[in-house]
């Protein structure tokens, strides 16, 4: 008797909850739809410049590659007298999370390593057009190998052959007789997308026996310790434990990136949904100010967006500035 009661209770609860779930889904949908006019309404009074200092909060989420920079700049920003009333919060979680949250209005800024157009595809393409791009820096990537493989330059074709599994031994590339071990990023990673787009010019599959890691520290550790390993890292992570290889004979240096000689780089984007509110705008303006661009950005191993002599659009077309 009691057991059957419990069963009935459970069933009833499940049904109620399922209904609740649906309701809450509808609510969030309505909320998202209703959000836009609301947000613009609330920004109207703020838009009129007030003599007092700005106050409010900014939430930036997304790319873990960009997080250290945003974090450091946020601390300096909040320490300034005129912005004392603004609190900036920075959370990592990946470019996809950042773009999703900014597009759904959960965060003010979405940090991303890649263009929103590349993540929001097909049915979601309209979401990308609602976002406003603020480029705050450039990050360049270099292919790195274990110090003892005996190769210091790789051509585009050689890299393609390695990452598609056509060449499996370093001796075919003029190096040691040593099997190649690929240390890759997961197929959804922004770093991998950049490397595939601009170094290989094509997508690659995850080969059997290859290694996938998402943290740059782990990638570096594995490449430096595994004989025959090859991977790719942002310039800020390079040091003596791994060997940096030239791409088509071009050294991955800041100068070569800014002049367009070295093509494997990506913008660091901070997306807002529509035009930013004054509080968010103050923070983004500070991000691209000379103080930050020539200070924190270079200090942490990124390249200032202002230093670039070329520019690139979402489709990958490069033009002179």
């Amino acid at each position: 008797m009691k057991k059957s009661m419990l069963l009935v209770m459970t069933l009833v609860l499940t049904v109620i909850l399922a209904a609740c779930g649906n309701n809450s889904n509808n609510n969030t949908n309505n909320g998202a739809a209703a959000n836009t006019p609301e947000a613009s309404a609330s920004s109207t009074p703020e838009a009129t410049p007030t003599p007092e200092a700005l106050s409010g909060s900014v939430l930036a989420t997304g790319s873990s590659a960009l997080q250290p920079l945003v974090d450091q700049v946020a601390q300096k920003f909040m320490a300034k007298d005129e912005y004392k009333q603004i609190s900036v919060q920075v959370q990592a979680g990946g470019s996809g999370t950042g773009l999703t949250q900014v597009s759904e209005g959960q965060s003010d800024i979405g940090n991303s390593d890649i263009f929103a157009e590349e993540k929001f595809k097909d049915a979601d393409a309209s979401k990308a057009s609602e976002l406003v791009d603020h480029i705050v820096g450039v990050v360049a990537m270099a292919a790195v190998v274990h110090p003892e493989v005996g190769v210091d330059n790789l051509t585009k074709q050689q890299l393609i052959d390695i990452f598609t599994g056509k060449i499996t031994n370093w001796k075919d590339l003029g190096g040691k007789d040593q099997a190649i071990v690929i240390v890759n990023r997961p197929s959804s990673s922004g770093t991998r997308a950049t490397f595939e787009n601009y170094a290989l010019g094509q997508k690659t599959e995850d080969l059997k026996g290859s290694i996938q890691e998402d943290a740059s520290g782990t990638v570096k550790k594995l490449v430096s310790e595994t004989p025959g390993a090859i991977g790719y890292l942002a310039l800020s992570y390079l040091d003596n434990t791994v060997k940096t290889v030239k791409y088509e004979g071009v050294e991955p240096t800041v100068d070569n990136v800014t002049t367009g000689k070295y093509p494997v780089w990506a913008y660091e984007h901070m997306y807002t949904k529509g035009e930013p509110t004054p509080v968010v705008k103050a923070f983004l303006d500070y991000m691209v100010s000379d103080e930050v661009q020539n200070g924190d950005v270079t200090e942490l191993g990124y390249i200032p967006a202002t230093a670039m002599k070329i520019q690139r659009d979402a489709a990958g077309n490069v033009t002179n500035k």
Partner: protein
């Protein structure tokens, strides 16, 4: 006068009774709502892969190719399912004998030293963050395997050794409780018949507590099944069924943690990751049912 007092007391008791009842009921209701909404959330997200993205359930479960960004995208989760099962079962095979011997030592052989030194040390293992295990695995176990065995060292064996250390406290604690709860009469009877300590342990203690010991092992497996970070660091994460224990493989959890942040909500890739989470959840339920079943047998 006296009657009034009594009435007063009775009233007070009734109020207390009701406050207590309402409070416990609210707590239980909150708990039930949390559990059901989590199940509903994971299930609805995970099911949308098959409903709105039109991916065949069977090809998802039995497919060998995981190419979410490919053209056309392929979602075959079998390599992850294989990786999860092989690492956690192998981890239990390593950890169970160690844990059961440790708990026998603590309860039967040397309770003094065991309870005073061994138990706190083993319980300490449970408090170490999993990223530390992963890093230790990456710094010590992986290079060792790379030097000694063919392959890169990363793989199922490295993952299962790291997991075995992590689930050791779970199995040990449950086994110790089970052995300590054994009625003294059984053992005394065995000794009275002239059995040695080893004979008592082997013929009496272990067979009677076996279902409870198995409960500990199953709980250990389910913990290993859900562990993500430490395994992700040492297993290599290639979405293929490996041909050796030292070749890069992947588990359900490592596939989820590697890609969840990089995908946007609502994309097929993201939905497919939720489906992997749904498989994990279903497996956890199955483990819980096994534990329940074992407990029922233990009482008989």
């Amino acid at each position: 006068m006296v009657r009034d007092d009594k009435r007063q007391f009775a009233k007070q008791h009734i109020v207390e009774e009701w406050v207590g009842k309402v409070y416990t009921f609210l707590c239980i209701a909150l708990l039930i709502v949390t559990i059901f909404s989590m199940v509903y959330f994971v299930a609805s997200r995970g099911a949308s892969t098959f409903i709105s993205d039109k991916i065949n359930l069977w090809s998802f479960l039995s497919g060998l190719d995981w190419r979410p960004e490919g053209e056309p995208p392929l979602f075959g989760a079998l390599p992850f399912i294989f990786g999860s099962f092989s690492t956690s079962i192998l981890a239990a095979i390593f950890a169970a004998p160690l844990a059961i011997c440790a708990s026998l030592f603590m309860t039967e052989i040397s309770p003094k030293i065991g309870r005073k030194w061994l138990q706190p040390v083993i319980e300490l293992l449970a408090g170490i963050p999993s990223v530390v295990y992963g890093f230790v695995g990456l710094t010590i176990i992986v290079p060792f395997f790379r030097d000694v065995f063919p392959g890169q060292g990363l793989g199922i064996l490295a993952g299962s050794i790291v997991l075995a250390i992590m689930i050791l406290p779970t199995i040990t604690t449950i086994a110790t409780d089970a052995l300590a709860a054994l009625p003294g009469g059984l053992k005394e009877g065995s000794y009275a018949l002239g059995a040695t300590r080893w004979q008592t342990i082997w013929r009496t203690v272990l067979p009677t507590t076996l279902p409870s010991l198995m409960t500990g092992v199953v709980l250990g497996i389910s913990r290993a099944f859900g562990e993500a970070l430490a395994v992700q660091m040492v297993i290599g994460n290639a979405p293929h069924i490996p041909s050796s224990l030292f070749e890069s493989a992947s588990t359900l959890t490592s596939a989820i943690t590697l890609s969840m942040g990089n995908t946007v909500t609502g994309s097929t890739h993201n939905d497919a990751l939720w489906s992997l989470a749904l498989i994990l959840m279903a497996m956890t339920f199955i483990f819980v049912f096994i534990v329940r079943w074992l407990e029922r047998r233990a009482k008989v």
